[in-house]
Point group: C2
Chain length 535, copies 2
């Protein structure tokens, strides 16, 4: 987040000043009009802050904390929702019926501790807030009579210490992606964790949700870059030893990584960095058959070549993103290194591509441009623009949602076919007309891919949430029945709870609840997410 820019939108993605251009909107409308066979779309107006009436704050900031707490109308709107389709649909329906009562933005750990103490005294619910980019209702206040205090970490935004020898840094959790990288820049080091939400999400949010980042192979989640954590819990502060590796008992960090704000609030982390890459070797390849392309990706992953990017788009996904002709799947490949040329690795990957019937462009080697050309560049631009389209589509009744998973290769083809078919069937049943379901791989492992599905449907503006939820339910039911994870990197939040409850071993849930009761005895932190301790 950049304080010199405009405010963040409470109704959509990014700053109030940033939108799709009228030309982009026109192209989107035309494409969806053609797909759904409708003449034109009627757009619900974007809500203005003034037209929304919010429930009065049920509690007021106490003296001593008043300069870090806010009951401001805009702040409460902004902190009401994350950024999923369900959030967008409720925003355009002017449904702000459950805002947080107070937004607290502590400037240091002492203020955070004081905030939690105050919340404890009120028996309040605390919602930890990073960038608010959750697409799984991870930062949404639950329905409760208890006061709700959203704790926005945005003021803990500094890189505190850079260790250039070990290539690591101690970083506050509330820092947004761009500020994190610009503070690291003078050292020549980078975290290189670039989720789609990079500009509007925070280090603490990535760690709390086990975010997936830049690397398509090897170090796929933020988990692998954590050296140590500092976490404020209602029961006190937890600080782990800073270590490159350890075998001393179950990892303390791994208990908090992915805890989604239910066990404590991450305030700092020592993170592993690396020098900025100077060598690149990149290209993209095309395949007539998606499953044949998947076999090529499997072979590349199992060859332990470790491409930084290895993203397979099915033909529809490639078409939508301007990276393909709609007839062929596209594989975007990129190798990078700060130390040595990667030409040989790319050449070996392309041998594998050829052996699986793929065709590819002449590789681009070295230089900043290497990964930005051709299909890869098109896809990347489209990827970063995509979140802005929701505030155009939702008011036109167009539902676009995504879900992502991971599965081992032996089950992949059948899994993909069944999940895609179930989603298509649900769209047809729920909306009365066919939609579109596309798939890409965001990350791949030697033992399986992480498929990411996008779907598009024309809904009924009076019941968009209900329709989208029915479709999501149908897709998730099949996905979990076939043994996929309910999330590879979007997190569980409140939206995935019912399927996470089937995935997560029952005994582990009990152990996690026991741990939570110990760290958060009053169940203050993000209730409804991950587990529900009995009162």
């Amino acid at each position: 987040m950049d304080a010199t820019k405009a405010r963040l939108k409470f109704w959509g993605w990014g700053y109030e000043t940033e939108h799709l251009t009228p030309e982009e909107v026109g192209r989107l409308e035309a494409a969806y009009a053609k797909r759904f066979g409708v003449a034109r779309f009627e757009a619900t107006a974007t809500p203005r802050a003034e037209e929304i009436e919010l429930r009065k704050p049920r509690v007021q900031p106490p003296r001593g904390l008043d300069d870090l707490c806010s009951v401001d109308h805009y702040e409460r709107l902004l902190h009401s929702y994350g950024k999923s389709f369900f959030d967008s649909a409720r925003v355009f329906a002017r449904d702000f019926s459950n805002p947080p009562d107070v937004i607290a933005s502590p400037r240091n750990e002492a203020e955070l501790v004081a905030t939690l103490a105050w919340c404890d005294s009120l028996d309040a619910v605390v919602i930890p807030w990073g960038g608010g980019s959750s697409v799984v209702a991870g930062v949404e206040p639950p329905r409760t009579d208890r006061p709700i205090v959203t704790v926005d970490l945005k003021r803990l935004d500094r890189v505190l210490e850079i260790d250039e020898v070990s290539q690591a840094a101690r970083i506050q959790a509330g820092v947004y992606g761009p500020s994190l990288e610009s503070q690291l820049k003078p050292s020549g080091l980078t975290l290189r964790h670039f989720p789609q939400s990079f500009e509007f999400s925070t280090l603490g949010g990535w760690i709390a949700t086990r975010g997936g980042g830049h690397y398509a192979t090897l170090h796929t989640h933020i988990d692998d870059f954590v050296e140590s954590l500092r976490v404020v819990t209602p029961a006190g502060v937890m600080q782990s030893f800073r270590l490159p590796g350890s075998g001393a008992g179950p990892s303390p960090d791994r208990m908090f990584i992915g805890s989604e704000g239910t066990l404590g609030i991450i305030t700092e982390a020592w993170m592993k960095l690396r020098p900025r890459p100077t060598f690149r070797a990149a290209t993209s390849a095309r395949f007539l058959d998606f499953y044949r392309a998947a076999e090529a990706v499997r072979a590349i992953a199992q060859a332990q070549l470790y491409p930084a990017n290895c993203r397979l788009l099915d033909a529809d996904e490639a078409l939508i993103n301007g990276a393909g002709d709609g007839g062929r799947s596209v594989l975007v490949l990129n190798f990078e290194s700060a130390d040595c040329p990667m030409d040989a690795a790319l050449a070996r990957a392309l041998e594998i591509v050829r052996a699986h019937g793929g065709e590819y462009d002449a590789p681009a080697i070295k230089g900043e441009g290497a990964q930005r050309q051709g299909a890869a560049g098109q896809w990347r631009d489209s990827f970063l623009r995509m979140p802005y389209s929701r505030e155009v589509l939702t008011p036109r009744g167009i539902i676009t949602e995504t879900f992502e998973t991971a599965i081992t290769w032996d089950r992949f083809a059948q899994f993909h076919a069944q999940v895609k078919a179930a989603t298509e069937r649900a769209i047809k049943e729920v909306t009365g007309r066919p939609g579109l379901v596309t798939c890409r791989f965001t990350h791949v492992y030697p033992d399986g891919p992480a498929p990411y599905f996008s779907w598009h449907a024309l809904g009924d503006k009076t019941r968009l949430v209900e329709q989208a939820w029915a479709i999501k339910t149908a897709a998730s039911d099949v996905l979990i029945k076939l043994g996929g994870t309910i999330t590879h990197h979007h997190a569980v939040g409140r939206d995935h709870r019912r399927w996470y409850d089937r995935q997560r071993p029952a005994l582990f849930a009990e152990a996690l609840i026991a741990a939570k009761k110990c760290l958060d005895p009053k169940g203050m932190l993000n209730p409804g997410v991950l587990v529900d301790p009995a009162p």
Copy 2:
């Protein structure tokens, strides 16, 4: 373990039929005689099973479990200790004052569940036992009035299922290293996890202790190869989803990985495999200065070249193991791949070696011999022989012990110097004469090495345990004060508890105790290890 061979020694490493040759013993004696300036050593005789009188079993196996339970004299001797110096010293002192009462070897999960139910009914203590190669008293019965049942998993020794498409296998936890690899062999796949204890340790043991394996970089611990776990706890059975990757909440597997038998008994795991390597590129390099060599290792690790082996031996360590002349540190380098030549990676690593003043042999490329030549081969042979020397040295009053840790690069040089000096000082103070402290790196990370220290001292045969403990305490106190981990891959067990208690965040301990109380309400499993729940 190979059932066709002789019995395992209760007094030392390996099978009863395997020993150092008289020539090897002669060389060892001569070397230590020279080092400690003594004329000759008097050796205490190896204990015979018949001369040891054991406490009568305080409980007898019940009807229904009698064919899987044993109160056999030899079995109780064998299961009394692990394989540390402290264990060896007590063995030669004929101190078997606290044997387990019963050894249970269930043949399947139902029998394991029945065994735990029986133990629960007795209020017994259960010691989960893999190969018994613990060097941290992880499998030693605690002093208690409760009956002690050691559960030896050796009969759960099958590879149940191999998925050649995903390159993974479902494997029972009690399988020993050689049997595991030989069952995998027809598939062409391998786990390639080769701890020093490989021949006499089990998959379940590796997972329960976060064992360190073959790979010096990248995938250093067994942790990274686990797809899913099946664990029998006193509260029931826990089975996680089999997934190549997931971001769904804190990882259930990561709670049990490293839990050292305190939360449950691992019975099965899906493990990630890979094809056997067919390409190798290896050599060794020499450096006049250990710290300069460490800088070279840092540069190689930070170049993300990912050598399979990257083991730095200081000059004394190299000399002792026949891999060096005693004047120079030796770096053993090996790259391997099942897919493509690794010459370029080795060449780049050797550029780094040269830039740091290292000299190296002509690289050996490809073929099985590539990693077995020269210093590397010498070191490897010595490494595998080493555990057999303890039964020769302990009866001569020679204390040899090791401890291992990890630390970030920025702190490494000072850390190494202070830990080494403290250990040397302690040896002098405790034994009255100088000893020897050597160091190697077993694993390295971009942000720090895992230094492994060995030390040698001439003790007083009447108080070996007390002397060795005083030296270990001095070393560990400094190590933990300077921020190293108390163990990188040997585990915590009972021996490291007092330092682990300082390393492990207090709040995490509370959370772990809460989880344990939920999974093991009566505190049946491996009490004294990791945490002590209040009764």
